[in-house]
Symmetry: C2
Subunit: 205 residues, 2 copies
DNA sequence: CCATTAATGAACGCCGAGTCCATATAAGCA
DNA sequence: TGCTTATATGGACTCGGCGTTCATTAATGG
């Protein structure tokens, strides 16, 4: 008697009946809806109830698969931006660093991803599950890539051997996060370039 | 007829009757309760309702004076820690920077202030009122002090004249915030010292 | 083709946000 | 000093999201 056979136009999943459904299908719909909602309206509007509604899925399903709002948001973000994890090595460490930090600044300041990342980091400060996921799946891997590239530069004698690559990462990307999260000063590509410059040349007179 | 004349022991304000009360008195009780709650249980437990209860004050009063949960928390934090804003100038820029960044790391990693600051910055990402207050009353003034000290070093010829002090601030304190907010790596005093070292000497081979 | 399995959806209780209105008290005035 | 007025106050109220429970229904496998 339930005559609910409508074609799904785009984006808006139709309400299905009750009962078991293929997990993959549901998961895909959830991630799509979560990512879209996140980029469109930000973390403030990103509520479990809202995601359930937009994905045409029950809250129970969400709670079954994701431990917290934050982790769901993180998965939605990854699904939406399809981040390409790579750190090219042209042999020129200065050029490579500058290119990477510039690209990062462009991502943060030029797209809606910046706000989302800021809100995810913010949410992580009071959401242990998100914090763990963020470290393991986002900042950790990126940090590792940068450290690896810096280590190679050290081996090639382009960088002082006694400089800790892990600390350099904080002084390059951490500085960008600083301007993202506490925006007293603007986040520009010129800023990115000067970060690299300061560190390589040193600023002592 | 209301026989409610009890001595206020410590910390726990007695319930008063209805009606107007001296604003200063109420404000002091609110800030004390807010600060204590914040340091004791963190931002997750810091709810308007909870503060109202612990300060023995009605929610209406809180909403009348503070635009958001975050700004109330910020005021409570300042009331609790009595931050001493100073940036000594001994003439030795390296020593001064190292001392300041070290002290900052000690504050972040060694006391409960670190968690609170992290949670405030986190909350600010989705709370415009807190964001504005944080920039104007916390990060802004601190940034200005550091920039002023760096400018003096430039005038004295200790620092390259073409280095932007504002960017150096990001590469020193921003790096610390990075390890605070995305704790993939530990936040130690040795880290603080090496931040200064890297920047002053440069890391190019 | 049917029995088993397991995800689903709706409803429920709880809690905190933010608002409204009658009230009691402090402040102002005579 | 005594009264009036102005205003902060407190409790009640609505709204919305969280997280859970339980009967239901479809997918799965023999």
């Amino acid at each position: 008697m339930t005559a609910e056979r409508e074609a799904r136009p785009t984006g808006a999943p139709v309400r299905r009946g009750r009962g078991r459904r293929p997990a993959d299908e549901v998961r895909a719909e959830v991630l799509a809806a979560a990512g879209a909602l996140l980029l469109r309206e930000g973390m403030a509007a990103f509520t479990i109830e809202r995601v359930a509604q937009e994905a045409a899925v029950s809250k129970t399903t969400l709670y079954k698969w994701w431990p917290s709002r934050g982790t769901l948001a993180l998965d939605g973000y990854f699904h939406a931006v399809e981040s390409t994890l790579a750190f090219p090595d042209t042999g020129d460490i200065r050029a490579d660093l500058t290119a990477q930090v510039r690209a990062f600044v462009r991502l943060l300041a030029g797209t809606s991803a910046g706000r989302v990342i800021a809100e995810l980091i913010g949410q992580a400060q009071t959401d242990p599950a998100l914090s763990a996921a963020l470290l393991e799946r986002y900042s950790g891997p990126r940090r590792d890539l940068a450290v690896a590239r810096l280590r190679r530069a050290q081996e090639q004698g382009r960088l002082r051997a006694d400089a800790d690559p892990r600390i350099l990462v904080d002084q390059l990307w951490g500085a960008c996060y600083h301007r993202l999260l506490l925006p007293n000063e603007p986040l520009t590509e010129e800023f990115a370039a000067r970060l690299v410059d300061n560190l390589l040349r040193g600023v002592a007179a």
